[in-house]
């Protein structure tokens, strides 16, 4: 693949390539990492959480989580669905933004996942996960969501595969982002505010605080507990952090590599749990690790200062969920009990980062940076007013980093970022920013 891309780079074409194919394989970076991924672990006491995975997750997803395969074939049915939802997504030049910033020979490109029916990249893995859940005989898929992007993606995937969807939505978002909640319901999903009274952990937290805002970690715990109430017909679909989620998202980066008219010097994406970041960058990082390209490219992971696991967290074993129902994974974490303040970019309110991303940060291959909400939302407006796309507050973190980098970049610098979702359903956030009641 790289020979084709490098040839295109050498030709110096500035034309954005639109005729690209949907990849036939996902990419698994575990095969190329400079150090191995630490194994998942059970805590010192209690039942085996590792064993529990068989009751929660679709079986193929467990296999993919522990697969040594570098290239994992995408099932034909999933590939057809990718086509149906509009993949490949566009890779565009942000030339209006470049002009507005007064850049001299600094090029900015973005991969736009917001064109998907879910409005974000999340559908890439939701489709694969729902497909595998159905293969296992499940009739209901269950998950958590904060901003609603993952819940919406799961609802769409469930609808496309003829399944039911049950979504635990963090209470803060359930209230502040009714738009996506309604859309999930239109698609046939049942949406519960989390913490809820449907689970033990939910009831416990509600007893402490009836107005508990919830967190992604709590919603994950509820979704898992709900699946375990009827494991024969339900499967849990995780939206991020698990390695197979990042693997599915690599369709983004694999397409982007085909589309790039110039090799980027700097690649940027935001981080909640790491799926958007990994999906966009891992195929490029993999080429670098295999010495096939991107040798000098910098990879920047942008997180929210409200949940700064990569910049302020500890690299340690921790549970991905608040209740500790899932096995321990080694990652940068703020602690499973960390409850971030409600922010517009609810998708970034998560305490940990995927193990592979955590390792890449630890090794210095990926550079983390954190931003405050206010500066991010200003960048979002600038992007909207120049490029005509209203970005999701999560994706706006990447935009803020790109703008900062571009302003200081030397001529000839090429920057690429993943615009992981649009913000058309984030009017609540933009209303507050603009002071519109």
């Amino acid at each position: 693949m790289w020979s084709k891309v490098s040839r295109r780079f050498k030709e110096g074409s500035r034309r954005v390539i639109s005729m690209v194919s949907i990849p036939s394989y996902w990419y698994n970076i575990a095969a190329d990492l400079p150090v191995p991924l630490p194994p998942v672990r059970d805590p010192d006491s209690g039942p085996s959480r590792i064993e529990l995975l068989t009751k929660i997750l679709p079986s193929v997803l467990i296999d993919q989580e522990f697969s040594g395969e570098r290239w994992i074939p995408i099932p034909d049915d999933v590939r057809r669905m990718y086509e149906k939802i509009g993949r490949p997504t566009p890779y565009r030049r942000a030339d209006n933004l470049e002009r507005e910033l007064g850049l001299k020979d600094v090029h900015i490109y973005y991969k736009f996942e917001g064109v998907l029916p879910s409005g974000s990249h999340k559908l890439n893995t939701a489709l694969a996960q729902a497909y595998y859940a159905k293969q296992d005989g499940a009739v209901e898929v269950v998950t958590e969501t904060s901003a609603g992007q993952w819940g919406l993606a799961t609802s769409i995937a469930a609808a496309l595969f003829g399944m039911r969807a049950v979504i635990f939505m963090t209470r803060a978002s359930y209230r502040s982002k009714p738009q996506r909640r309604v859309l999930m319901q239109v698609l046939g999903a049942t949406v519960h505010p989390s913490p809820s009274d449907l689970t033990e952990i939910g009831r416990r937290l509600l007893e402490e605080d009836r107005e508990h805002p919830g967190s992604l970690g709590i919603a994950i715990s509820e979704a898992v507990e709900y699946v375990l109430q009827r494991p024969e017909e339900r499967r849990y679909l995780p939206g991020s952090v698990m390695e197979f989620v990042l693997i599915h998202q690599t369709v983004i980066g694999l397409e982007a590599i085909q589309q790039m008219p110039e090799q980027p010097d700097i690649v940027v994406a935001c981080v909640g749990g790491g799926s958007n970041f990994g999906g966009f960058t891992y195929p490029m990082i993999g080429m670098r690790l295999r010495e096939e390209g991107f040798e000098k490219t910098r990879f920047i992971a942008v997180e929210s200062k409200a949940a700064p696991k990569l910049t302020s967290g500890k690299y340690m074993y921790d549970h991905p969920d608040t209740s500790g129902t899932l096995p321990l994974i080694k990652m940068y974490t703020l602690g499973k009990d960390f409850v971030p303040p409600p922010i517009h970019a609810a998708g970034l309110r998560y305490h940990g980062a995927a193990p592979s991303l955590s390792i890449l940060v630890k090794l210095g291959i990926v550079e983390p940076v954190a931003y405050e909400q206010e500066e991010v939302m200003k960048a979002a407006q600038l992007f909207a007013r120049t490029e005509g796309i209203i970005p999701a507050p999560e994706s706006a973190h990447a935009i803020k980093a790109v703008i900062d980098i571009a302003r200081k970049a030397s001529p000839g610098t090429v920057i690429a970022f993943n615009l992981s979702g649009h913000g058309l359903l984030d009017t609540d956030a933009y209303s507050k920013v603009l002071g519109i009641s």
Binding site: A31, R41, D42, S48, I50, E51, I62, S67, E69, R70
Partner: protein, 243 residues
């Protein structure tokens, strides 16, 4: 190690007590090609529930458990221990392994948690007359396998599952083929974790592994109906390997 597939039995030293442990070694030695003997620890971090239980239930802890092995293990054996427990006294630990009569040492957390110590570990092993052995997971970076091979290990141990004794729906044939193909004939490849039936070992033999390790399943057989069941279990596996 020769070319046929070996049967390797994992036991935690001095579990359930020293006398019974030594008796098991003696009783099953005719069926086993090699023993892997675990040093009891308070933190068997990468093990599943059954082997964790044996660590908790062992009579002795740490190097004291190694001392009882001296001259008492009727077959070739390697010692399994976590680097975390011995990183500050590695020389002393390896000295005890050598005194106990071990051929090699396997530290499953070495490549994951003490990645920078690989070369030093190998060097120290050889200084004590021991051969280094390395544990890799089912999604181990391909290039790192080469690094491990450059240490000329006694064997590479591929963990087929996420932890010992717990079977997940992992396509082990694919993973074994990947690492067998990377390793080639440069080093013996042994596999373990959740191997529990003659069908399992037949499949693994067909995939060209040099040895299969059983541990949790044997302990469960012992718990079920004593050494007699354990013996029958090993006989069945051995038969499947030589057929």
């Amino acid at each position: 190690m020769s070319s046929c597939t070996k049967l390797i039995l994992y036991l935690t030293a001095t579990y359930p007590n020293t006398e019974t442990f030594l008796n098991i070694l003696e009783t099953v030695s005719h069926l086993v090609d090699m023993f892997e003997i675990g040093v009891p620890t308070d933190n068997p971090k990468y093990d599943g529930p059954t082997i964790r239980m044996t660590h908790r239930g062992a009579e002795l802890r740490g190097v004291r458990a190694l001392e009882v092995l001296r001259g008492r293990v009727p077959r070739e054996f390697v010692v399994m221990a976590y680097m975390e427990d011995h990183v500050n006294s590695l020389d002393l630990f390896l000295e005890k392994c050598a005194e106990a009569g071990a051929r090699g040492v396997l530290m499953p957390d070495l490549l994951f948690d003490y990645h920078d110590l690989v070369e030093e570990f190998s060097k120290k092993c050889r200084e004590h007359g021991l051969e280094p052995c390395f544990f890799i997971s089912s999604k181990f970076p391909y290039r790192e396998v080469d690094r491990v091979l450059s240490q000329r290990p006694l064997f590479i141990y591929l963990g087929l599952q996420a932890c010992s004794g717990v079977r997940l729906p992992i396509f082990i044939e694919r993973n074994v083929k990947i690492y067998r193909s990377i390793i080639g004939d440069r080093c013996p490849l042994i596999v373990g974790f959740a191997i529990k039936s003659p069908e399992d070992v037949k499949l693994l033999k067909k995939l060209g592994v040099d040895g299969v390790v059983v541990g949790s399943a044997f302990v469960r057989e012992l718990s079920r109906c004593g050494l007699e069941c354990g013996l029958r279990f090993l006989e069945d596996l051995k038969r499947a390997l030589v057929e």
